[in-house]
Symmetry: C2
Subunit: 187 residues, 2 copies
Amino acid sequence: MSPKVAILLANGFEEAEAFMIFNALKRVKIDVEFLSCSNDFEVLSYHNVIVKAHGLLKQKNTTLYDAIVLPGGPEGTVNLGKNGDVINFIKLHDENGKLICPICSAAIKVLGKNKLLKGRQYTCSGDLFMMENDGVYLNKDIVIDANLFSGQGLGYAYKFAFTLAKKLGMDEKEVQFQAEHIYLYDI
Amino acid sequence: MSPKVAILLANGFEEAEAFMIFNALKRVKIDVEFLSCSNDFEVLSYHNVIVKAHGLLKQKNTTLYDAIVLPGGPEGTVNLGKNGDVINFIKLHDENGKLICPICSAAIKVLGKNKLLKGRQYTCSGDLFMMENDGVYLNKDIVIDANLFSGQGLGYAYKFAFTLAKKLGMDEKEVQFQAEHIYLYDI
């Protein structure tokens, strides 16, 4: 059975990060869906595009996914970080050893802000690491520490997704084939 | 005044190409919008995400943009290529020397199919170039011939967008800065 991944969307989400990760995971046949973290299926992206999520977090909050992805976006990560449903959902997955996958500002503004980095190594964008001291920041494109799988930013979103696919047990040659099929060689 | 760009969406459009190009152009302050090519603002992407366009092509079909972008997607480019409104819109822009910007399969399945490559050099994904003999295929990531600005595929979508921004007259240093800000160095 394919691994299941949820990408959590709140208003202000970084649309290209969300779609690049979604797209790459779909290409390697991972069962991935967008979950809106509000009561509305429609979510407004960072640069003002309305996207309809596949489901509502409120209706899936007891579902265990193999990985949950937290995209960036200046307001998006603020909105994720102050949403109790999101924090409970992350805690549920963390306690069950599922992959927690923030990219860009999400490691700091969602996890760090809620003391969920828990001393683990992580990466995030720019110098946001200075905002919290809950984890150990590394200036790398991708950092994996136990079940915390973090990415630095938008330019690495495809590498982040294809690396996540391999971490989720997808066949390495197939992942490489799919990446090269879309002209991505540095994954 | 900022250049104006329209990204044309039809059901089946390659969501990551569309969003990467949209995102990059937004980051360099280009006035870019998604236009739905049907009567419905909602468009269904290649991997089944509903996205709400900013406008309808039918309501903008006499507006002259500085560039029109045609994303890929196996069904998306079939749907663009058989849509009379799309073809008329492309012809209007081509006749006025505006940039026509297909990526992935769009050069062949939208332009080639409708004899709109007109002998110009272009690129497209895979070996689709064998389907039409209306233009001169080059195996390159980006090909610019007069006002035809084509890209090979998804992995080059950011390079395509930032190169397009420079072609539209945006400041080269600012474009480079914005690219590096999101960890993209090879543009």
